[in-house]
Symmetry: C2
Subunit: 365 residues, 2 copies
DNA sequence: CTCTCTCTTGTTTACGTGAACATCACGAGC
DNA sequence: GCTCGTGATGTTCACGTAAACAAGAGAGAG
């Protein structure tokens, strides 16, 4: 298509020519160098500068060189606001989330940012402090004014299913970790499959039943893992012990572990994430319950540290990178096809990583 | 100043009026609703719409209501590209980073995003896959084209100190975790102080010397922690054991731990982060070296999980939230004062959190 | 030699917004 | 009754870019 060099010319770091600096009395008006400035210096029209800037063909070598030289001298950088205005798009994807504290979120966001960058899109973070209806609603509304072509939502969307919230029209959206697949385009880890794998692994080892430490009630991922845990036990005809409730933190897992250590019949626990599993390990260690000899533990996420827990944790591996990739793919498809969000759920498979925290129950020996 | 209501009117979520959707054959030109459209419907001039949209005073009640109604009906949302073009700024801060994988980065970014949002600024993530000179340089250059008023750099800036790289002029910048304080405005955790606290704590417990597991050689934080470790030992007149090199990962800490477990004289280890400390704990556990009875371990970061390691980890607490806060403060000051980046380093203090992984050496008994 | 075709460059215009200025109506003060 | 001020609203224009169209120059064909 464009045989001559890179498609987009980038002016290198500049030397001087920063417009005097203190010359203008009023302040910082007109600090930026525009195409017109470059054109004037190069002795061409601004349209020619535009063509050079965008690597369009049809600019003869000598002219192009002149323009490039002028760009360098003035330190020209294209104004993306003007570009966005002209083209009607921002090449930016917004990401709405609660926080980056959880491993899953930060890794998903990282994958989103990386893949988006590869496609020429930047990522704008829209954090929501406290996950109240109002705050989420506010973020959605604010988003309408934001310089964003599409949005990826990484929050528990069921906070808004009262029906009061409608996404601004014309904004493409993909939702992560939600059961809103009937209304939005959803990308999600196959939570149910993962939980099932965990439970089946423990049952197959010979455990009579499996206890469960849940994530926070507000989390859909946690809900679904708990649901699948229950279902897997029921399918196998095993009793379903009362679940213990955690909040994703290791501390909450520790608290649950102290309680479970006092349950004599408990030989296997499935924690809804690896942090809580870590808390379990600590509690069992302190209470003298050996893992895996006395109690087996399975986590969820497969955070990098899990292989160095004591003992190394058997856990369900989540492919956050893949989730991020599909999110970007999803919004880009919407942007390019111009269509609205097509409802549907895109499930990313999970797999069980067996390490040293699970073993057959001692009573079986 | 503006006594009547909120300064910026936000149109609520709309009902219908999405411009037919399939009506336009050619595609997506003119999907957006502009001020002119609202003005036409409301029977006023677009300037009046602008005034209402920005909450300016001097629009009489009835007119304002008409305009608001028209906005609602059409689903008007202001075009931020046009706004940015008009005002010459984007209300956006760019964050250049390697990845969100490390706890520190993701928590710092979260704090940045939160504080920026509170000031009305959005965050644009500019991830750099592989930290080569070229990639970093590319990101800086690309940034010039990006819709960003200022930049926070969370990478090892010494990758670029060859002098070949100059930040685009007029872009305000704050650098995290760097020794470029002579050239840039730097915000950083007081790495040296933290490392010193860790070493002194172990020496004060009676250990003869302290071994060290470093972070990657490319990391300035790791370098400074190692340097401070060495200095603290020398100041106390103690021998300086050869440092072991890790890469921040728990696995690398585990490898170092296996080596250290074979060192009979090793009774105290300072790991450059908590993940590697976790690896140490695992290695010592597997080799039958009790922590803290046989060997004391100190980490760095105080990640939330550290309190649930086995045993709970003594570590140096870093205040990532404060780092993020000061970064935002720094760039905002630059933006508002219009000045360039004033060189200087802003140190955030650290503190030692003593838990159960440290104790006097057994030989002292 | 002229006509047309192509290749390069210039001119005009629109994108959506909001500051600056213009206009208009109305009421108070002389 | 006239002027002037005040407050509400309209008009013009510029922000920086790039598409669409226009114009000019040179080359090849008749």
């Amino acid at each position: 298509m464009e045989p001559d060099g890179p498609a987009r010319q980038v002016p290198g770091p500049i030397g001087g020519a920063q417009r005097g600096g203190s010359g203008i009395p009023g302040g910082r008006r007109k600090q930026r160098v525009s195409m017109a400035d470059v054109a004037r210096l190069a002795g061409v029209s601004s349209q020619t500068v535009s063509r050079v800037s965008n690597g369009h063909p049809g600019v003869v070598g000598a002219t192009r060189e002149q323009v490039l030289a002028a760009m360098r001298e003035l330190g020209y950088r294209p104004n993306s606001a003007a570009r966005a205005l002209r083209y009607g798009q921002f090449n930016t994807i917004g990401v709405i989330l609660f926080g980056l504290a959880s491993t899953g979120n930060s890794r998903t966001v990282e994958a989103i940012a990386t893949h988006a960058a590869a496609e020429g899109y930047a990522i704008t973070l829209i954090p929501i402090g406290i996950p109240t209806q109002d705050n989420v609603l506010g973020a959605f509304t604010r988003m309408g004014e934001l310089a964003v072509d599409a949005v990826i939502v990484i929050i528990e969307i069921h906070l808004l299913d009262a029906g009061t919230v409608t996404l601004p029209p014309g904004v493409h959206v993909v939702v992560v970790d939600s059961d809103a697949g009937d209304r939005y385009s959803v990308v999600d880890t196959d939570q149910a499959e993962g939980a099932r794998l965990a439970v089946r692994h423990l049952l197959d080892l010979g455990h009579h039943t499996v206890w469960h430490v849940t994530g926070p009630k507000t989390s859909f991922a946690a809900q679904r893992r708990a649901q699948a845990w229950r279902l897997a036990l029921e399918e196998a005809g095993r009793p379903v012990p009362p679940p213990l409730h955690g909040d994703w933190s290791a501390e909450s897992g520790y608290a649950a572990g102290l309680a479970l250590a006092a349950e004599p019949g408990c030989t296997a626990v499935f924690a809804s994430n690896d942090q809580m599993a870590l808390g379990l390990l600590r509690a069992f260690h302190e209470r003298g319950r050996a893992v895996p000899a006395d109690i087996s533990v399975v986590g969820f996420d497969d955070i990098p540290d899990a292989s160095c827990f004591v003992p190394p944790l058997t856990t369900v591996h989540q492919d956050f990178a893949e989730v991020g990739r599909r999110c970007v793919q999803g919004v880009l498809r919407q942007i390019r096809e111009g269509g609205a969000s097509q409802p549907g759920t895109d499930l990313v498979p999970t797999r069980l990583v067996v390490r040293d925290s699970t073993a057959p129950p001692r009573t079986r020996r």
